[in-house]
């Protein structure tokens, strides 16, 4: 009986880590765009959906090998991010916060509409990246895809950390984010960096979708809830903070799965927004917000 309790707990924790990693990827992409442009991109979840759908189409439809499909879809969703910036954000003469939020919300609906036209209403799934038996650990068993999901978060967040803290270009990008005008006075082409941030924001979001495609089904509107939870994760960790995005995502994923497992599945979607409200009441700057900003 005790063993059963233990393996149940392990099962919940791994499920939590998995969905938490996905929220973390959405939050990382969200912060990426927010940090450079101050745009609160509510279409981040749609990037995730597009990543999954594109990858499945390339792999199952066009029969491309999985690694090729992964790389290509990452680039494609990144480019969708760039188009998003060029045609929706940049034409604005006076971008106010409210206008930007409404526009990204509109864009999210538009992307869902396009996805509905391309893929219809049926759910799609992808095979696991590497064929392996499910892994057993302390009596719990889970899909090996979990390792890919967690690995992606670790690699993505470490690369982002390295890029922004250690490279000259990364620091220039932070300078753009903090003070675009002063950055232009240094000769930094701010618009190029905005384009790069939308590319990376799209690519990271898309990557999240590809990672879960083998575990859960994806439908044309499947990104929305993920996007909202990723947004909650970003706020939980502190908007703009990359370590915060990872911690916020993991905490949210764990809370959600533990609450579902031990209390009631009723809490699955409620807990994210409960956590969002709580953090806004108690520490609105988030768990990891850097104080020097």
């Amino acid at each position: 009986m005790e063993n059963y309790q233990l393996s149940l707990a392990v099962q919940f924790i791994f499920a939590g880590l998995t969905s938490g990693s996905i929220y973390a990827l959405v939050a990382l992409g969200f912060n990426m765009i927010y940090n450079v442009t101050r745009v609160v991109n509510l279409a981040q979840g749609e990037f995730l959906m597009l990543g999954a759908m594109t990858m499945i189409s390339l792999h199952a439809g066009l029969k491309l090998p999985m690694p090729v499909a992964l790389v290509l879809s990452t680039i494609i969703v990144g480019c969708i991010g760039v188009v998003f910036d060029r045609f929706i954000i940049r034409p604005l003469k006076k971008p106010t916060l409210l206008l930007l939020i409404l526009l990204t919300l509109g864009a999210s609906t538009f992307l869902k509409g396009v996805a509905l036209l391309i893929w219809g209403k049926s759910p799609y799934s992808a095979p696991t990246f590497v064929e392996m038996k499910s892994i057993s650990f302390l009596g719990a068993s889970f899909s090996p895809q979990i390792l890919w999901v967690i690995g992606t978060v670790v690699v993505t967040s470490c690369s982002l950390w390295f890029f922004f803290e250690k490279t000259f270009i990364g620091k220039a990008m932070r300078a753009c984010a903090e003070n675009p005008r002063a950055a232009s006075l240094m000769g930094i082409d701010v618009k190029n960096f905005v384009t790069i941030s939308f590319f990376l924001g799209g690519a990271i979001g898309g990557l999240g979708g590809m990672m879960i495609a083998p575990i859960s089904f994806m439908v044309y509107d499947g990104g929305t809830m993920m996007g909202l939870k990723g947004f909650a994760a970003a706020v939980l960790g502190g908007v703009g903070s990359y370590p915060g995005a990872v911690i916020g995502g993991i905490v949210l994923g764990l809370l959600e799965n533990l609450a579902t497992g031990y209390i009631s599945s009723f809490f699955k979607d409620t807990i994210a927004f409960l956590a969002l409200l709580l953090i806004l009441f108690i520490k609105p700057s988030g768990l990891m917000k850097r104080t020097e900003d």
């Binding site: 000259f168 620091k171 220039a172 932070r174 300078a175 903090e178 003070n179 005008r181 002063a182 950055a183 232009s184 006075l185 240094m186 000769g187 930094i188 082409d189 850097r290 020097e292 900003d293």
Partner: protein, 237 residues
């Protein structure tokens, strides 16, 4: 070196600059004086390419630069230390200085950049002590020093400063103006915008006085310092 002729700038329906003509020669410190809202900052922002002029020409080193982007203008050799310092508070002091090298970073050797850095640290030893700290932790005076240091790192052929004395204690203002003189001795011409007319004219070769978007007076700094109108309007006497 820098010749501005009949420069007009419209700012949301308001004409901020009305036919400005101004010159900075090699080895000069030129001060532009005037009250708040006279258009001094707009002048610098249009030279830097942040604000576009509706009419007129800006020629630098024989090259027309009005209409060029701000990053092109920095590359041509005009560096601005903006009003209110505008340092990157979330970056370390050393990284702030390195941002000044952005436009020549890929072309310059590591050694030459390290030499520049040491030169800035010679001018401002306080920055060297605190090089790894966030710029946001610096006092106003130190942030101004950092902003000037960042400007030097860009290896400018012309350095423009917008109100470097703003909000600083008299002793620190004196320090900063001494450093401007030292830079001038290194053959960097300076275009200095100031409300602190006395201090600005004391180090300047020539001066201009702006009012409501126009230049209403120009002359040698020593003459302006003795001009009755200037004395009563800007020097508090």
């Amino acid at each position: 070196m820098l010749t501005i002729e009949n420069l007009n700038v419209d700012y949301g329906g308001i004409q901020a600059l009305k036919g400005i003509s101004l010159k900075v020669n090699e080895n000069e410190i030129v001060s532009v004086l005037g009250a708040n809202g006279a258009g001094k900052s707009t002048l610098l922002m249009s030279i830097s390419g942040i604000v576009t002029a509706s009419q007129g020409s800006i020629v630098f080193d024989g090259q027309e630069i009005s209409g060029k982007s701000s990053s092109q203008i920095v590359r041509i050799g005009i560096s601005q230390v903006p009003e209110g310092r505008e340092v990157f508070k979330g970056l370390s002091i050393q990284d702030n200085l390195m941002m000044g090298t952005y436009h020549h970073h890929s072309k310059s050797t590591k050694q030459s950049i390290a030499d520049d850095l040491n030169r800035v640290f010679d001018y401002f030893p306080r920055l060297k002590e605190r090089r790894t700290q966030f710029a946001g932790t610096l006092s106003g005076g130190e942030q101004q020093m950092l902003a000037i240091g960042r400007g030097i790192m860009a290896r400018p052929k012309l350095l423009m400063l917008d109100e470097p004395s703003l909000g600083l204690a008299p002793l620190i203002i004196e320090d900063i103006f001494m450093i401007l003189l030292a830079l001038h001795k290194e053959n960097i011409p300076i275009l200095l915008i100031e409300q602190n007319a006395k201090a600005a004219l004391r180090i300047a070769t020539r001066g201009y006085v702006m009012e409501a978007g126009r230049i209403i007076m120009e002359g040698k700094a020593s003459d302006l310092l003795e001009d009755k109108h200037i004395v009563s309007a800007y020097l508090g006497g």
